[in-house]
């Protein structure tokens, strides 16, 4: 059996640190904690970490600086803990190569879901993990994962619900591949806290509408007979 994944938790609040460690250990992780960036740097060489959970707001060296240093050392996945409204910090963090973020005060289960999703992306699928691209182009549309937004061919921002965004991300990461409903459910559950409770079909039809894709004769998200969907477009990524 694979050894338990090792997590480095960096947060300046002792209680949160300890509670988070206990919570994650209960979920089957090995956890090392660090109070701030200096301690984290010391802890870094001592373990082989699968993922780092990093608080952005810390006394002394900021989380962003530490993330930058960490990126120089390794491409270990990073999940940032941000405060709501620290929009610019979040974007900078994502540009630095952090893999995801959770806004404080976070729901522990949502954090857990994000950790698992990030790890699956990083270590699963046997693939080397790319940092979050700044733009993904498909069929004239542009998805900007770092800013979590979608632009139409005219450059107009088209807003998406959380579910639509996750579904689109899953689709553009696997272009021209047929994804069954079950596969989609599985992939989406890894990303979202709680069950993806609306039927996949509803989500797809909503997304088609946003993408100006005719529901009866879709050209972007095609329905595959036998129960599945495929994004029929060439996808181009910009780092």
């Amino acid at each position: 059996m694979e050894p338990a994944p090792h997590i480095l938790v960096v947060d300046d609040d002792r209680e949160i640190r300890e509670l988070l460690a206990r919570f994650l250990e209960k979920q089957g992780f090995r956890v090392t904690t660090a109070r701030e960036a200096r301690e984290a740097r010391r802890a870094w060489p001592l373990g082989r970490y699968h993922i780092v959970v990093l608080d952005l707001m810390m006394p002394g060296e900021s989380g962003l600086d530490f993330a930058r240093w960490l990126r120089g050392q390794s491409d270990v996945p990073i999940v940032m803990l941000t405060a709501m409204g620290e929009e610019t910090d979040r974007i900078v963090g994502l540009e630095l190569g952090a893999d995801d973020y959770v806004a404080k005060p976070f729901n522990p289960r949502e954090l857990l879901a994000r950790i698992r999703a990030v790890m699956r992306r990083a270590h699963g699928e046997g693939a080397r993990r790319d940092p979050l691209p700044s733009a993904i182009r498909f069929g004239g549309w542009v998805l900007e994962p770092q800013r979590r937004r979608l632009l139409n061919p005219d450059g107009v921002e088209v807003s998406l619900t959380g579910g639509e965004y996750e579904l689109l991300t899953v689709l553009v990461e696997r272009p021209n591949r047929v994804l069954t409903r079950d596969m989609l459910m599985d992939l989406l559950r890894g990303r979202q806290a709680g069950p993806f409770d609306r039927a996949i079909d509803v989500a797809v039809s909503r997304l088609r509408r946003k993408l100006e894709d005719d529901g009866r004769n879709p050209s972007l998200i095609k329905t595959v007979r036998g129960g599945g969907y495929v994004l029929a477009a060439d996808v181009e990524r910009a780092a």
């Binding site: 405060a83 929009e87 619900t161």
Partner: protein, 448 residues
Amino acid sequence: MNALIRRVLPRTLAARTALFLLVALMAVQAAGLTIHALDRVDLQRAAMEREMSSRVFGLWRAVVLALPERRGALLSDIDLPQGLEATLDERPNVRLGMPPAPPPVLRMVRPELLMGAPPRLRPREIQAGMGFGTLNLSMMLPDGSAWLNMAVHAPPLRPWHSETFLIAFVLMTAAAASLILWAVRRLTRPVRDLARAANALGRDVNAPPMPEDGPLEVATAAHAFNTMAERIRRFVGDRTQMLAAIGHDLRTPITRLKLRAEFMDDDEQRAKMLSDLEEMEAMVNATLAFARDDAAAEPSVPLDLAALCRTVLDEAADARPDVDADAFVYDGPERLTVRGRPIALKRALANLVTNAANYGGVARILLEPPRNGSILLLVEDDGPGIPPESQEAVFQPFRRLEVSRNRETGGVGLGLPIARNILRAHGGDVTLRNRPGGGLSAAVVLPA
């Protein structure tokens, strides 16, 4: 009376001041010109009296000194001034019962001059009487042969008769009026500037200060205004910082509590505790969003308002799995591109939709295509509505209408103020009114 004055008075301070000054100026001019005219009256009368008396005396002398048989011819030959008639008669033309001549009229002919003349020129008798505005003067010739009857009627005094008079009046009034208008506009400009600055301050606390120059009073007022603006700025800043600090500091304990909840064995209690904590978090977030007013920090980009409406409705529906999804309806164009701040606009619409769903059970967004440069968006529900007198009050921060319904619909009383702040920052606004058929309608107006 007051109403009448108010109706007649012009509305602006400048016009009122100008009007008062002009009226005063005209009164002063009229008074001055009247004094001038009265002076002219005196002068004219004096001149006329001198003229008349000398003519009367001259005529008398000429008649007395002429040969008695030449007197009639002389009288018809002689050139008499206007208002003076003279005849030589057997009898005086002053009749009995004529009113005596008042001294001012008598002064015209100065009978005392005649009476003081040397004896050969002195009339034997003088009679004077008034008849129909005419002074009748009868003088018996020194030889007693006849009476020289004169009818003197003074030409009317015409103090206002002067071409220059009217021109002077008009010119002076026009010159003064233009000076007054210019000066008044100049003088009231600081008041207009002050009003403009106060307006700007109302819209944006960080509006630039007023220039503290100009006359002393104006500079003092500007300085006082700037000081007040600075105090307001500091007050708002302190309050904002306090709210932000509280909100920020609450995050850590809420995070801790959420983690602790995960160690509770009782699933039901844990779920309840988490939902309480979510509620607290929502309040903190709303407070922070209001305090920071970070709409201004977000860049404005072209966005699809129709897609935004759908997103907000779908997310509201997703958050309420127990409510029928048909309760969230979008009615409007497929695409509508506007410029705006996506996150802020989404928050504003989400607040309105959340209110509609919480209080009215349903949320419908009706989006109308741009007309006359603005876009109308209605968020409607089927709830009880809001009494008209409270429809503005609910936009005040921390104002909540229902005293205590259940907590799910509670909120912190910032949803509408935040929505209005955001929409106003976009150059639009939001107002509430009850729909005729029941339910509330939030009307959002945005520039197209």
